[in-house]
Protein backbone atom coordinates (compact mmCIF):
# COMPACT_ATOMS: atom_id res chain seq x y z
CA UNK A 1 0.00 0.00 0.00
CA UNK A 2 2.77 2.38 0.95
CA UNK A 3 4.71 1.28 -2.12
CA UNK A 4 1.75 1.99 -4.29
CA UNK A 5 1.45 5.47 -2.91
CA UNK A 6 5.11 6.05 -3.54
CA UNK A 7 4.74 4.96 -7.15
CA UNK A 8 1.94 7.42 -7.50
CA UNK A 9 4.26 10.35 -6.93
CA UNK A 10 5.54 11.72 -10.21
CA UNK A 11 7.25 14.91 -9.11
CA UNK A 12 8.60 15.67 -5.69
CA UNK A 13 10.43 18.87 -4.78
CA UNK A 14 11.91 19.44 -1.34
CA UNK A 15 13.37 22.75 -0.25
CA UNK A 16 14.12 23.46 -3.88
CA UNK A 17 16.00 26.71 -4.44
CA UNK A 18 17.51 28.40 -7.45
CA UNK A 19 19.54 31.58 -7.31
CA UNK A 20 20.70 33.32 -10.46
CA UNK A 21 23.92 35.26 -10.10
CA UNK A 22 23.51 38.49 -12.03
CA UNK A 23 25.53 41.67 -12.27
CA UNK A 24 23.07 43.33 -9.90
CA UNK A 25 23.59 40.63 -7.29
CA UNK A 26 21.83 37.32 -6.69
CA UNK A 27 18.21 36.84 -7.79
CA UNK A 28 16.25 34.27 -5.82
CA UNK A 29 14.12 32.75 -8.54
CA UNK A 30 13.01 29.90 -6.29
CA UNK A 31 13.30 29.56 -2.53
CA UNK A 32 12.50 26.47 -0.46
CA UNK A 33 9.79 25.14 -2.76
CA UNK A 34 8.11 21.97 -1.47
CA UNK A 35 5.68 20.30 -3.81
CA UNK A 36 4.39 16.84 -4.64
CA UNK A 37 2.59 16.03 -7.85
CA UNK A 38 0.84 12.71 -8.27
CA UNK A 39 0.19 10.71 -11.37
CA UNK A 40 -2.67 12.01 -13.52
CA UNK A 41 -2.92 15.37 -11.79
CA UNK A 42 -3.36 18.60 -13.71
CA UNK A 43 -1.32 21.14 -11.78
CA UNK A 44 -1.35 24.82 -12.62
CA UNK A 45 1.32 27.24 -11.49
CA UNK A 46 0.03 30.77 -11.15
CA UNK A 47 1.56 33.98 -9.91
CA UNK A 48 2.83 37.36 -11.04
CA UNK A 49 5.87 37.55 -13.29
CA UNK A 50 9.10 36.85 -11.49
CA UNK A 51 7.51 34.37 -9.08
CA UNK A 52 9.52 31.49 -10.51
CA UNK A 53 6.67 29.49 -12.03
CA UNK A 54 8.41 29.11 -15.36
CA UNK A 55 11.74 28.51 -13.64
CA UNK A 56 10.22 25.68 -11.61
CA UNK A 57 8.92 24.03 -14.77
CA UNK A 58 12.29 24.45 -16.43
CA UNK A 59 14.02 22.86 -13.45
CA UNK A 60 11.73 19.85 -13.83
CA UNK A 61 12.73 19.72 -17.50
CA UNK A 62 16.46 19.98 -16.68
CA UNK A 63 16.66 23.25 -18.57
CA UNK A 64 17.77 25.06 -15.40
CA UNK A 65 19.94 23.70 -12.59
CA UNK A 66 18.71 24.17 -9.01
CA UNK A 67 21.20 25.57 -6.52
CA UNK A 68 19.68 23.95 -3.45
CA UNK A 69 17.26 21.30 -2.25
CA UNK A 70 16.20 18.27 -4.20
CA UNK A 71 13.75 17.39 -6.91
CA UNK A 72 12.81 14.09 -8.51
CA UNK A 73 10.84 13.34 -11.66
CA UNK A 74 9.52 9.77 -11.83
CA UNK A 75 11.91 9.04 -8.95
CA UNK A 76 14.93 10.15 -10.98
CA UNK A 77 16.90 13.37 -11.22
CA UNK A 78 15.56 15.76 -13.87
CA UNK A 79 18.59 14.97 -16.02
CA UNK A 80 17.96 11.23 -15.95
CA UNK A 81 14.29 11.87 -16.62
CA UNK A 82 15.17 14.05 -19.59
CA UNK A 83 17.52 11.45 -21.00
CA UNK A 84 14.75 8.86 -20.57
CA UNK A 85 12.42 11.24 -22.42
CA UNK A 86 9.98 11.26 -19.51
CA UNK A 87 8.24 14.49 -20.46
CA UNK A 88 7.05 16.53 -23.38
CA UNK A 89 7.52 20.29 -23.15
CA UNK A 90 5.34 22.95 -24.73
CA UNK A 91 6.87 26.42 -24.81
CA UNK A 92 5.29 29.86 -24.83
CA UNK A 93 5.76 30.11 -28.58
CA UNK A 94 5.07 27.12 -30.79
CA UNK A 95 8.72 26.91 -31.85
CA UNK A 96 7.93 24.75 -34.86
CA UNK A 97 10.74 24.34 -37.36
CA UNK A 98 9.67 26.31 -40.46
CA UNK A 99 11.47 24.02 -42.91
CA UNK A 100 9.42 21.01 -41.83
CA UNK A 101 5.75 20.36 -42.47
CA UNK A 102 3.46 19.79 -39.51
CA UNK A 103 3.93 16.03 -39.94
CA UNK A 104 7.69 16.56 -40.29
CA UNK A 105 7.77 18.57 -37.07
CA UNK A 106 5.92 15.85 -35.21
CA UNK A 107 8.29 13.23 -36.59
CA UNK A 108 11.37 15.19 -35.51
CA UNK A 109 11.44 13.95 -31.88
CA UNK A 110 10.65 10.46 -33.16
CA UNK A 111 13.65 10.59 -35.49
CA UNK A 112 15.90 11.85 -32.71
CA UNK A 113 14.68 9.24 -30.27
CA UNK A 114 15.05 6.43 -32.77
CA UNK A 115 11.41 5.39 -32.99
CA UNK A 116 11.18 2.97 -35.96
CA UNK A 117 10.23 4.78 -39.15
CA UNK A 118 7.35 2.43 -39.84
CA UNK A 119 5.56 3.82 -36.78
CA UNK A 120 5.97 7.49 -37.64
CA UNK A 121 2.89 7.96 -39.79
CA UNK A 122 0.63 6.23 -37.29
CA UNK A 123 1.97 8.45 -34.49
CA UNK A 124 1.41 11.59 -36.52
CA UNK A 125 -2.15 10.55 -37.26
CA UNK A 126 -2.78 9.70 -33.61
CA UNK A 127 -1.54 12.98 -32.12
CA UNK A 128 -3.03 15.20 -34.80
CA UNK A 129 -6.38 13.62 -34.00
CA UNK A 130 -5.85 14.43 -30.31
CA UNK A 131 -5.36 18.13 -31.06
CA UNK A 132 -7.97 18.23 -33.85
CA UNK A 133 -5.55 19.03 -36.65
CA UNK A 134 -6.17 16.06 -38.92
CA UNK A 135 -5.70 17.05 -42.54
CA UNK A 136 -2.95 19.61 -41.87
CA UNK A 137 -0.08 17.11 -42.09
CA UNK A 138 1.46 18.62 -45.20
CA UNK A 139 1.08 22.29 -44.31
CA UNK A 140 4.08 24.30 -43.26
CA UNK A 141 3.86 25.98 -39.82
CA UNK A 142 3.83 29.46 -41.33
CA UNK A 143 0.73 28.56 -43.29
CA UNK A 144 -1.25 28.03 -40.06
CA UNK A 145 -2.76 30.45 -37.54
CA UNK A 146 -1.14 31.00 -34.15
CA UNK A 147 -3.66 28.77 -32.37
CA UNK A 148 -3.15 25.96 -34.85
CA UNK A 149 0.62 26.26 -34.53
CA UNK A 150 0.36 25.91 -30.78
CA UNK A 151 -1.87 22.85 -31.18
CA UNK A 152 0.71 21.38 -33.55
CA UNK A 153 3.39 22.01 -30.96
CA UNK A 154 1.29 20.19 -28.35
CA UNK A 155 0.89 17.31 -30.80
CA UNK A 156 4.65 17.22 -31.21
CA UNK A 157 5.12 17.05 -27.43
CA UNK A 158 2.68 14.14 -27.30
CA UNK A 159 4.15 12.15 -30.18
CA UNK A 160 6.72 10.21 -28.16
CA UNK A 161 4.25 9.08 -25.51
CA UNK A 162 5.85 10.69 -22.47
CA UNK A 163 3.67 10.42 -19.35
CA UNK A 164 4.33 13.98 -18.26
CA UNK A 165 3.38 17.08 -20.19
CA UNK A 166 4.97 20.36 -19.09
CA UNK A 167 3.40 23.49 -20.55
CA UNK A 168 4.84 26.97 -20.10
CA UNK A 169 2.08 29.53 -20.74
CA UNK A 170 1.25 27.78 -23.98
CA UNK A 171 -1.81 29.90 -24.74
CA UNK A 172 -0.47 33.20 -23.41
CA UNK A 173 -0.15 34.82 -26.82
CA UNK A 174 -3.55 33.73 -28.13
CA UNK A 175 -6.82 35.60 -28.06
CA UNK A 176 -9.58 34.79 -25.59
CA UNK A 177 -11.83 32.81 -27.92
CA UNK A 178 -9.07 30.60 -29.28
CA UNK A 179 -7.86 30.15 -25.75
CA UNK A 180 -11.24 28.93 -24.47
CA UNK A 181 -11.38 26.49 -27.31
CA UNK A 182 -7.89 25.16 -26.65
CA UNK A 183 -8.54 24.91 -22.91
CA UNK A 184 -11.54 22.73 -23.60
CA UNK A 185 -9.54 20.56 -25.98
CA UNK A 186 -6.71 20.28 -23.51
CA UNK A 187 -9.06 18.94 -20.83
CA UNK A 188 -10.44 16.43 -23.30
CA UNK A 189 -6.93 15.38 -24.24
CA UNK A 190 -5.95 15.03 -20.59
CA UNK A 191 -9.03 12.87 -19.92
CA UNK A 192 -8.18 10.63 -22.87
CA UNK A 193 -4.47 10.22 -22.22
CA UNK A 194 -4.38 10.41 -18.41
CA UNK A 195 -1.10 12.31 -18.49
CA UNK A 196 0.33 14.27 -15.60
CA UNK A 197 0.30 17.91 -16.63
CA UNK A 198 2.24 20.86 -15.25
CA UNK A 199 0.81 24.08 -16.63
CA UNK A 200 2.15 27.59 -16.10
CA UNK A 201 -0.33 30.42 -16.53
CA UNK A 202 -1.05 33.92 -15.32
CA UNK A 203 -4.77 33.66 -15.94
CA UNK A 204 -6.96 32.89 -12.92
CA UNK A 205 -9.92 31.54 -14.94
CA UNK A 206 -7.59 29.32 -16.94
CA UNK A 207 -6.02 27.87 -13.80
CA UNK A 208 -9.40 27.36 -12.15
CA UNK A 209 -10.96 25.79 -15.21
CA UNK A 210 -8.17 23.34 -16.04
CA UNK A 211 -6.57 22.19 -12.83
CA UNK A 212 -6.98 19.58 -10.17
CA UNK A 213 -4.43 21.48 -8.13
CA UNK A 214 -3.46 25.13 -8.27
CA UNK A 215 -0.06 26.17 -6.99
CA UNK A 216 -0.09 29.88 -6.14
CA UNK A 217 3.35 31.46 -6.14
CA UNK A 218 4.73 34.87 -5.23
CA UNK A 219 7.87 36.74 -6.26
CA UNK A 220 11.10 37.95 -4.62
CA UNK A 221 12.01 35.32 -3.58
CA UNK A 222 9.95 32.98 -5.75
CA UNK A 223 8.05 30.62 -3.47
CA UNK A 224 4.82 28.68 -3.07
CA UNK A 225 2.29 30.62 -1.01
CA UNK A 226 -0.62 28.23 -1.25
CA UNK A 227 -1.64 24.98 -2.89
CA UNK A 228 -5.36 24.87 -3.66
CA UNK A 229 -7.11 21.57 -4.43
CA UNK A 230 -9.96 22.02 -6.82
CA UNK A 231 -13.56 21.43 -5.77
CA UNK A 232 -14.77 21.08 -9.35
CA UNK A 233 -15.67 17.70 -10.86
CA UNK A 234 -13.36 16.18 -13.47
CA UNK A 235 -15.99 16.56 -16.15
CA UNK A 236 -15.99 20.29 -17.03
CA UNK A 237 -18.02 21.86 -19.79
CA UNK A 238 -17.09 25.49 -20.54
CA UNK A 239 -20.34 26.60 -18.86
CA UNK A 240 -18.99 25.44 -15.49
CA UNK A 241 -17.29 28.81 -15.40
CA UNK A 242 -20.61 30.47 -14.66
CA UNK A 243 -21.34 28.35 -11.57
CA UNK A 244 -20.98 29.66 -8.04
CA UNK A 245 -18.48 26.92 -7.27
CA UNK A 246 -16.17 28.12 -10.05
CA UNK A 247 -16.42 31.72 -8.86
CA UNK A 248 -15.62 30.66 -5.31
CA UNK A 249 -12.54 28.79 -6.53
CA UNK A 250 -11.44 31.79 -8.61
CA UNK A 251 -11.86 34.03 -5.57
CA UNK A 252 -9.74 31.71 -3.46
CA UNK A 253 -6.98 31.86 -6.05
CA UNK A 254 -7.27 35.63 -6.24
CA UNK A 255 -7.08 35.97 -2.46
CA UNK A 256 -4.03 33.72 -2.32
CA UNK A 257 -2.34 35.77 -5.04
CA UNK A 258 -3.13 38.95 -3.14
CA UNK A 259 -1.84 37.51 0.14
CA UNK A 260 1.40 36.52 -1.55
CA UNK A 261 1.72 39.98 -3.02
CA UNK A 262 1.15 41.68 0.33
CA UNK A 263 3.99 39.93 2.12
CA UNK A 264 6.44 40.85 -0.59
Amino acid sequence: MIDEMKNDVVIKAEKLSLTFETNDGPVHALKDVDLTIKKGEFVSFIGPSGCGKTTFLRVLADLEQPTGGSVTVNGMTPREARLKRAYGFVFQAAGLYPWRTIAGNIKLPLEIMGVPRSEHDARVKEVLELVHLTGFENKFPWQLSGGMQQRASIARALSFHADILLMDEPFGALDEIVRDHLNEQLLELWARTNKTIGFVTHSIPEAAYLSTKIVVMSPRPGRVTEVIETTLPRERPLEIRETQEFLNLSNRIRDALRAGHDDA
Partner: protein, 281 residues
Protein backbone atom coordinates in the same frame (compact mmCIF):
# COMPACT_ATOMS: atom_id res chain seq x y z
CA UNK B 1 24.73 62.09 -87.51
CA UNK B 2 22.06 59.95 -89.11
CA UNK B 3 23.18 57.01 -87.00
CA UNK B 4 22.86 59.00 -83.78
CA UNK B 5 19.34 60.02 -84.73
CA UNK B 6 18.62 56.39 -85.54
CA UNK B 7 19.85 55.50 -82.03
CA UNK B 8 17.37 57.91 -80.49
CA UNK B 9 14.70 56.39 -82.70
CA UNK B 10 15.59 52.86 -81.47
CA UNK B 11 15.44 54.11 -77.90
CA UNK B 12 11.96 55.59 -78.47
CA UNK B 13 10.70 52.33 -79.97
CA UNK B 14 12.15 50.21 -77.15
CA UNK B 15 10.67 52.56 -74.58
CA UNK B 16 7.29 52.49 -76.31
CA UNK B 17 7.19 48.69 -76.41
CA UNK B 18 8.12 48.40 -72.73
CA UNK B 19 5.44 50.90 -71.72
CA UNK B 20 2.94 48.87 -73.70
CA UNK B 21 4.11 45.68 -71.93
CA UNK B 22 3.93 47.32 -68.52
CA UNK B 23 0.26 48.13 -69.14
CA UNK B 24 -0.63 44.50 -69.88
CA UNK B 25 -1.93 42.11 -67.24
CA UNK B 26 1.02 41.17 -65.04
CA UNK B 27 2.54 37.79 -65.77
CA UNK B 28 5.83 35.99 -65.69
CA UNK B 29 6.79 36.54 -69.35
CA UNK B 30 6.62 40.33 -69.09
CA UNK B 31 9.58 40.85 -66.82
CA UNK B 32 11.70 38.61 -69.05
CA UNK B 33 10.55 40.18 -72.31
CA UNK B 34 10.86 43.77 -71.10
CA UNK B 35 14.34 43.10 -69.72
CA UNK B 36 15.33 41.55 -73.06
CA UNK B 37 13.96 44.56 -74.97
CA UNK B 38 15.86 46.89 -72.67
CA UNK B 39 19.08 44.96 -73.29
CA UNK B 40 18.62 44.82 -77.06
CA UNK B 41 17.82 48.54 -77.19
CA UNK B 42 20.94 49.34 -75.23
CA UNK B 43 23.17 47.26 -77.51
CA UNK B 44 21.64 48.75 -80.66
CA UNK B 45 22.11 52.29 -79.33
CA UNK B 46 25.67 51.51 -78.37
CA UNK B 47 26.39 50.25 -81.88
CA UNK B 48 24.74 53.22 -83.59
CA UNK B 49 26.17 55.95 -81.38
CA UNK B 50 29.73 54.57 -81.44
CA UNK B 51 29.63 54.31 -85.22
CA UNK B 52 27.80 57.60 -85.68
CA UNK B 53 30.22 59.61 -83.52
CA UNK B 54 33.18 57.62 -84.88
CA UNK B 55 34.47 56.76 -81.41
CA UNK B 56 37.89 55.15 -81.50
CA UNK B 57 37.66 51.34 -80.96
CA UNK B 58 40.33 51.73 -78.28
CA UNK B 59 37.96 53.83 -76.21
CA UNK B 60 34.83 51.81 -76.95
CA UNK B 61 34.48 49.25 -79.71
CA UNK B 62 30.99 48.73 -81.12
CA UNK B 63 29.20 45.52 -80.06
CA UNK B 64 29.49 44.06 -83.57
CA UNK B 65 33.27 44.25 -83.32
CA UNK B 66 33.23 42.62 -79.89
CA UNK B 67 30.99 39.91 -81.27
CA UNK B 68 33.36 39.42 -84.21
CA UNK B 69 36.32 39.13 -81.84
CA UNK B 70 34.30 36.70 -79.75
CA UNK B 71 33.58 34.43 -82.72
CA UNK B 72 37.04 34.52 -84.30
CA UNK B 73 38.81 33.92 -80.98
CA UNK B 74 36.39 31.40 -79.54
CA UNK B 75 39.00 28.67 -79.06
CA UNK B 76 41.29 31.11 -77.26
CA UNK B 77 38.41 32.30 -75.10
CA UNK B 78 37.45 28.73 -74.29
CA UNK B 79 40.99 27.90 -73.25
CA UNK B 80 41.14 31.06 -71.09
CA UNK B 81 37.77 30.21 -69.60
CA UNK B 82 38.95 26.75 -68.60
CA UNK B 83 42.17 28.03 -67.14
CA UNK B 84 40.76 30.93 -65.17
CA UNK B 85 37.19 30.05 -64.37
CA UNK B 86 37.11 26.26 -64.13
CA UNK B 87 40.59 25.73 -62.68
CA UNK B 88 41.40 28.96 -60.87
CA UNK B 89 38.05 30.26 -59.68
CA UNK B 90 36.02 27.06 -59.21
CA UNK B 91 38.79 25.07 -57.53
CA UNK B 92 39.57 27.98 -55.24
CA UNK B 93 35.87 28.39 -54.55
CA UNK B 94 35.41 24.76 -53.62
CA UNK B 95 38.52 24.67 -51.42
CA UNK B 96 37.87 28.07 -49.81
CA UNK B 97 34.20 27.47 -49.06
CA UNK B 98 34.68 24.00 -47.64
CA UNK B 99 37.68 25.09 -45.57
CA UNK B 100 35.72 28.03 -44.15
CA UNK B 101 32.72 25.79 -43.47
CA UNK B 102 34.78 23.21 -41.59
CA UNK B 103 36.57 25.97 -39.68
CA UNK B 104 33.18 27.38 -38.68
CA UNK B 105 32.15 23.97 -37.33
CA UNK B 106 35.40 23.74 -35.36
CA UNK B 107 34.88 27.25 -34.01
CA UNK B 108 31.37 26.31 -32.96
CA UNK B 109 32.63 23.35 -30.96
CA UNK B 110 35.24 25.25 -29.03
CA UNK B 111 35.21 28.65 -27.44
CA UNK B 112 39.01 28.62 -27.49
CA UNK B 113 39.03 28.42 -31.28
CA UNK B 114 36.35 31.06 -31.48
CA UNK B 115 38.56 33.51 -29.68
CA UNK B 116 41.65 32.37 -31.58
CA UNK B 117 40.51 31.74 -35.14
CA UNK B 118 38.06 34.55 -35.81
CA UNK B 119 40.74 37.23 -35.34
CA UNK B 120 43.01 35.25 -37.65
CA UNK B 121 40.25 35.18 -40.25
CA UNK B 122 39.84 38.90 -39.75
CA UNK B 123 43.54 39.40 -40.27
CA UNK B 124 43.59 37.35 -43.48
CA UNK B 125 40.64 39.34 -44.79
CA UNK B 126 42.45 42.60 -44.08
CA UNK B 127 45.47 41.60 -46.19
CA UNK B 128 45.47 43.55 -49.45
CA UNK B 129 44.95 40.99 -52.18
CA UNK B 130 47.13 42.99 -54.57
CA UNK B 131 49.99 42.49 -52.16
CA UNK B 132 49.33 38.81 -51.52
CA UNK B 133 48.84 37.74 -55.13
CA UNK B 134 52.49 38.06 -56.27
CA UNK B 135 53.65 36.23 -53.17
CA UNK B 136 51.21 33.39 -53.78
CA UNK B 137 52.39 33.22 -57.38
CA UNK B 138 55.93 32.77 -56.03
CA UNK B 139 54.76 30.04 -53.70
CA UNK B 140 52.44 28.08 -55.95
CA UNK B 141 53.83 28.81 -59.39
CA UNK B 142 52.40 30.42 -62.51
CA UNK B 143 49.69 27.78 -63.03
CA UNK B 144 46.11 27.81 -61.82
CA UNK B 145 47.15 26.65 -58.33
CA UNK B 146 48.32 30.13 -57.31
CA UNK B 147 45.06 31.61 -58.65
CA UNK B 148 43.06 29.15 -56.60
CA UNK B 149 45.13 30.15 -53.57
CA UNK B 150 44.29 33.82 -54.09
CA UNK B 151 40.63 32.92 -54.39
CA UNK B 152 40.79 30.87 -51.18
CA UNK B 153 42.24 33.82 -49.27
CA UNK B 154 39.65 36.18 -50.68
CA UNK B 155 36.58 34.12 -49.90
CA UNK B 156 37.61 32.38 -46.70
CA UNK B 157 36.62 35.16 -44.34
CA UNK B 158 33.21 36.16 -45.73
CA UNK B 159 32.26 32.50 -45.86
CA UNK B 160 33.56 31.86 -42.33
CA UNK B 161 31.78 34.82 -40.76
CA UNK B 162 28.52 34.00 -42.47
CA UNK B 163 28.63 30.35 -41.43
CA UNK B 164 29.55 31.15 -37.83
CA UNK B 165 26.69 33.60 -37.65
CA UNK B 166 24.34 31.13 -39.27
CA UNK B 167 25.13 28.51 -36.67
CA UNK B 168 23.73 30.80 -33.99
CA UNK B 169 20.59 31.58 -35.97
CA UNK B 170 18.29 29.31 -33.95
CA UNK B 171 16.29 30.90 -31.13
CA UNK B 172 16.29 29.79 -27.52
CA UNK B 173 13.00 27.91 -27.79
CA UNK B 174 14.26 25.88 -30.73
CA UNK B 175 17.45 25.09 -28.83
CA UNK B 176 15.62 24.18 -25.62
CA UNK B 177 13.33 22.00 -27.67
CA UNK B 178 16.27 19.94 -28.89
CA UNK B 179 17.51 19.66 -25.32
CA UNK B 180 14.16 18.35 -24.09
CA UNK B 181 14.44 15.66 -26.79
CA UNK B 182 17.92 14.86 -25.43
CA UNK B 183 19.29 15.34 -28.93
CA UNK B 184 23.04 14.86 -29.33
CA UNK B 185 25.26 17.66 -30.63
CA UNK B 186 25.33 16.23 -34.14
CA UNK B 187 21.62 15.46 -34.16
CA UNK B 188 20.76 19.03 -33.36
CA UNK B 189 23.43 20.15 -35.83
CA UNK B 190 22.04 18.18 -38.76
CA UNK B 191 18.35 18.35 -37.95
CA UNK B 192 18.21 21.97 -36.88
CA UNK B 193 21.24 24.24 -36.82
CA UNK B 194 22.67 23.63 -40.28
CA UNK B 195 19.23 24.03 -41.84
CA UNK B 196 18.58 27.21 -39.90
CA UNK B 197 22.04 28.41 -40.97
CA UNK B 198 21.33 27.84 -44.66
CA UNK B 199 20.27 31.43 -45.46
CA UNK B 200 23.54 32.70 -43.97
CA UNK B 201 25.65 30.00 -45.61
CA UNK B 202 24.12 30.80 -48.98
CA UNK B 203 24.84 34.46 -48.44
CA UNK B 204 28.48 33.52 -48.00
CA UNK B 205 28.37 31.29 -51.07
CA UNK B 206 26.85 34.06 -53.18
CA UNK B 207 29.35 36.70 -52.08
CA UNK B 208 32.16 34.22 -52.65
CA UNK B 209 30.92 33.28 -56.12
CA UNK B 210 31.48 36.82 -57.40
CA UNK B 211 34.72 37.29 -55.47
CA UNK B 212 36.13 34.02 -56.84
CA UNK B 213 36.09 35.13 -60.48
CA UNK B 214 37.49 38.57 -59.63
CA UNK B 215 40.27 36.98 -57.59
CA UNK B 216 41.21 34.48 -60.28
CA UNK B 217 41.37 37.15 -63.00
CA UNK B 218 43.29 39.69 -60.93
CA UNK B 219 45.78 37.08 -59.74
CA UNK B 220 46.79 36.40 -63.35
CA UNK B 221 48.06 39.96 -63.65
CA UNK B 222 50.93 38.91 -61.39
CA UNK B 223 52.16 36.00 -63.44
CA UNK B 224 50.49 33.29 -65.44
CA UNK B 225 51.11 30.96 -68.33
CA UNK B 226 50.43 32.57 -71.71
CA UNK B 227 46.72 31.98 -71.45
CA UNK B 228 43.98 32.78 -68.97
CA UNK B 229 41.37 35.52 -68.84
CA UNK B 230 43.45 37.86 -66.71
CA UNK B 231 46.52 37.31 -68.89
CA UNK B 232 44.49 38.02 -72.04
CA UNK B 233 42.99 41.16 -70.56
CA UNK B 234 46.29 42.63 -69.44
CA UNK B 235 48.19 41.79 -72.65
CA UNK B 236 45.21 42.67 -74.84
CA UNK B 237 45.02 46.10 -73.27
CA UNK B 238 48.76 46.53 -73.80
CA UNK B 239 48.46 45.66 -77.49
CA UNK B 240 45.39 47.85 -77.94
CA UNK B 241 43.33 44.76 -78.82
CA UNK B 242 40.43 46.18 -76.93
CA UNK B 243 37.88 44.10 -78.81
CA UNK B 244 39.48 40.97 -77.36
CA UNK B 245 39.49 42.50 -73.89
CA UNK B 246 35.81 43.21 -74.26
CA UNK B 247 35.18 39.69 -75.47
CA UNK B 248 36.86 38.39 -72.29
CA UNK B 249 34.67 40.73 -70.26
CA UNK B 250 31.62 39.26 -71.97
CA UNK B 251 32.81 35.76 -71.07
CA UNK B 252 33.45 36.82 -67.48
CA UNK B 253 30.03 38.46 -67.24
CA UNK B 254 28.23 35.40 -68.59
CA UNK B 255 30.22 32.94 -66.48
CA UNK B 256 29.93 35.05 -63.34
CA UNK B 257 26.19 35.63 -63.67
CA UNK B 258 25.53 31.98 -64.48
CA UNK B 259 27.55 30.87 -61.47
CA UNK B 260 25.80 33.34 -59.18
CA UNK B 261 22.44 32.32 -60.61
CA UNK B 262 23.17 28.66 -59.98
CA UNK B 263 24.04 29.36 -56.34
CA UNK B 264 20.90 31.50 -56.00
CA UNK B 265 18.80 28.65 -57.40
CA UNK B 266 20.30 26.31 -54.82
CA UNK B 267 19.50 28.88 -52.16
CA UNK B 268 15.90 29.06 -53.22
CA UNK B 269 15.55 25.29 -52.98
CA UNK B 270 17.28 25.07 -49.60
CA UNK B 271 15.69 28.04 -47.87
CA UNK B 272 12.16 28.04 -49.27
CA UNK B 273 10.89 28.19 -45.69
CA UNK B 274 12.65 31.44 -44.83
CA UNK B 275 10.39 34.54 -44.65
CA UNK B 276 12.42 36.24 -47.37
CA UNK B 277 11.74 33.36 -49.76
CA UNK B 278 8.13 32.50 -48.96
CA UNK B 279 6.51 35.05 -51.26
CA UNK B 280 8.14 33.55 -54.30
CA UNK B 281 6.24 30.29 -53.92
Amino acid sequence: MMLVIAALFVWAIGWGINIWIARQKPGRWQSIVSAAIFGITLILMWELIVRGLEVSPVILPPPSMIFHAFVTNKMTLLLDFYQTFVWGALTGYAIGCSAAFLTALAIDRSDFLKRGLLPVGNFVAALPIIGMAPILVMWFGFGWESKAAVVVIMIFFPMLVNTVQGLSATDSIQNDMMRTYSATYWQSMFKMRLIAAAPFIFNGLKISSTLALIGAIVAEFFGSPIFGMGFRISTGAGRLELDLVWAEIVVAAIAGSAFYGLVALGERAATFWHPSMRKQR
